[in-house]
């Protein structure tokens, strides 16, 4: 059976209460769901013996700036068994800017989530070591948000301590 049909079917069987939104664009499957169930779904996708998404290639986010759910967290996972790439998405609103971490499932998500936190300010709950990845710890802003100007904010980067 084609994986593009198999994955949604399996997910619907396993999680009947979760709503899944499927997109297939340029031969790439994207599955969108509620952020509350992210850990269960990721655990299932990794551990199911027919799928085995054992490789978390990337975690990032999109800032939609004006939309109601301002951010979308994007997981880019890959199954080495089937050579199939899958994109998972979960909306995060600015008023409750948190999502559960998937570090316990894929160790590589550790730094990838730290980078997303640094750039977008999305807090990953239960993350073992949520520090900024690139910017200094005392920096107040999140540079990849759309309201952060391209030129930066003067004075926002403090000079090194003497």
């Amino acid at each position: 059976m084609n994986l593009k049909e198999l994955i949604p079917q399996k997910l619907k069987e396993k999680f009947p209460s979760v709503e899944f939104e499927l997109t297939d664009y340029r031969d790439e499957l994207t599955i969108k769901f509620d952020k509350k169930s992210v850990v269960e779904i990721c655990t299932f996708l990794k551990s199911d013996s027919d799928l085995e998404f054992s490789w978390c290639s990337d975690v990032t986010a999109i800032d939609w700036a004006t939309r109601k759910n301002r951010f979308t967290v994007v997981y880019n996972i890959f199954s080495m068994k089937h050579n199939f790439r899958l994109r998972l998405k979960a909306d995060v609103d600015e008023s409750d800017c948190t999502i559960d971490t998937v570090t316990s499932i894929w160790k590589s998500a550790n730094w990838q989530e730290r980078e997303t936190y640094d750039m977008y300010g999305i807090k990953f709950t239960n993350h073992p070591d949520l520090r900024r990845m690139y910017m200094p710890e005392e920096f107040e802003y999140h540079p990849l948000r759309k309201d952060f100007p391209l030129m930066g904010i003067p004075g926002s980067l403090p000079l090194p301590k003497k």
């Binding site: 590589s108 073992p128 990845m133 301590k161």
Partner: protein, 416 residues
């Protein structure tokens, strides 16, 4: 102690002591030492900072700190057109800029639905493989230099110099090439460039064998790297180790074979793998990959078809200079593309190539405008450095130098 707390962020120190909850910094400093390595250190290959917690000379904790070369390339991509961004990809992995160019244009072409002509795809394959050879040569040389074999560095850089000369003929630049264009390449590969590539490939293998001879019979080198920094297959996959580093752990995974792009499915090549997962395996693997790449380039030269190197899509592909100066239509298209961009349809794609360090991918979200709404660079070095603490714990300080060299991080790419 005070000095350390003043200069280092408390959260980093906390991460360094993470192995034991009740342990404080004072306890740690009783019998241990905290050593700061980098960001300016000859062995860290750029500006990577490592905080090492030492018991005697043995490492019991390691926290890498990134961001010293963070230039905000993802933010910049959101504010410039797809064409304008090509030169910026050169500065990501500055050891193999050609491969980055190829990765970027392939992602944009997938987003916009453009297909480059066959000859352009073959040229792209050729330059991507030569870039891989150049990158691996730098890695082998600097890795050997890190553990004390200085001569090899000169020998491998001499070979790399010849590849830079090929770039010079091909596109007029030696280091930051920006050779590819959306829908093709900047200009057709001249016969003299192809002849030089052929000459290079013919003399490359004996020269590589000489380099190998220098190192493989060097007892000091082998003993410094054998069994150092080993990682298991499961850990490597879980930590998203990629590229040659992953294949040295026994995972036969290569995007050129597993998810073919360009014309790699028409080429016959092997994917070398080793099972040890240590520094020595990573070194052997890169040597083997150099040979395989040379094989690919040779086949590409034989199979390269004649024909155009630009897709015939005037609304999206920049016209040639001589046409702009002589034809009205082309002038209009050039003006529109340069000023307003190519406006790919609304959608999002991810495209990755097997770069010299691993999976180099671009995730692009388009809102139908001339510039991307979001561009995420999936850089292999970033994910490779993540495994560094796992690799160095239990080894000596002198091994850290070898391990960093063997996983080949490029900070331009890791920090973006």
């Amino acid at each position: 102690m005070e000095q350390l707390e003043k200069e280092t962020d408390p959260k980093i120190l906390k991460a360094l002591l993470a192995s034991r909850e009740d342990y404080t910094l004072e306890d740690a400093l009783e019998n241990e030492m905290i050593l700061n390595m980098g960001p300016q250190h000859p062995a860290t290959h750029g500006v990577l900072r490592l905080l090492l917690r030492l018991d005697g000379e043995r490492i019991i904790g390691c926290v890498p700190e990134l961001g010293y070369l963070h230039r905000g390339y993802e933010k910049m991509a959101e504010n410039m057109s797809y064409y304008e961004y090509i030169p910026h990809t050169d500065r990501l992995d500055y050891i193999s800029p050609m491969a980055n160019n190829v990765a970027w244009v392939l992602a944009v072409e997938k987003l916009a639905g453009i297909e480059a002509p066959k000859r352009a795809q073959y040229i792209r394959m050729m330059i991507a493989e030569l870039a891989r050879i150049a990158s691996h040569l730098v890695q082998i040389g600097s890795f050997a230099m890190d553990v004390g074999a200085l001569t090899v560095f000169l020998w491998t850089l001499r070979e790399r110099e010849k590849i830079l000369d090929i770039w010079d003929i091909l596109c007029g630049a030696r280091f930051t090439n920006s050779y590819t264009r959306i829908g093709g390449v900047a200009n057709d590969a001249q016969p003299e460039a192809l002849a030089k590539v052929k000459w290079f490939i013919d003399q490359f293998e004996p020269n590589l064998a000489e380099v190998e001879q220098l190192l493989n019979t060097n007892k000091i080198f082998i003993e410094r790297v054998d069994g150092v920094g080993a990682i298991s297959k499961e850990d490597a996959i879980s930590l998203a180790f990629c590229g040659p580093n992953l294949r040295a752990c026994g995972v036969e995974f290569d995007l050129r074979r597993n998810v073919p792009y360009l014309c790699y499915d028409e080429i016959d090549f092997k994917i070398p793998t080793y099972t040890e997962g240590d520094c020595l395996a990573r070194y052997f693997l890169r040597l083997d990959e150099c040979r395989e790449s040379a094989k690919i380039v040779r086949q590409v030269l034989e199979k390269m078809p004649q024909g155009p190197v630009h897709a015939d899509m005037p609304k999206q592909v920049l016209p040639q200079k001589d046409e702009i100066y002589t034809k009205m239509e082309e002038l209009i298209h050039d003006f529109m593309i340069v000023n307003f961009g190519i406006n790919p349809p609304v959608g999002e794609i991810y495209h990755a190539i097997e770069g010299s360090k691993g999976e180099l991918g671009f995730y692009l979200v388009s809102k139908g405008e001339g510039h991307p709404w979001k561009c995420k660079i999936r850089s292999p070095s970033f994910n490779n450095i993540q495994s560094l603490p796992k690799l160095v714990i239990g080894h000596l300080i002198s091994d850290v130098v070898a391990i960093i060299g063997s996983i080949d991080p490029i900070m331009g790419e890791a920090d973006k």
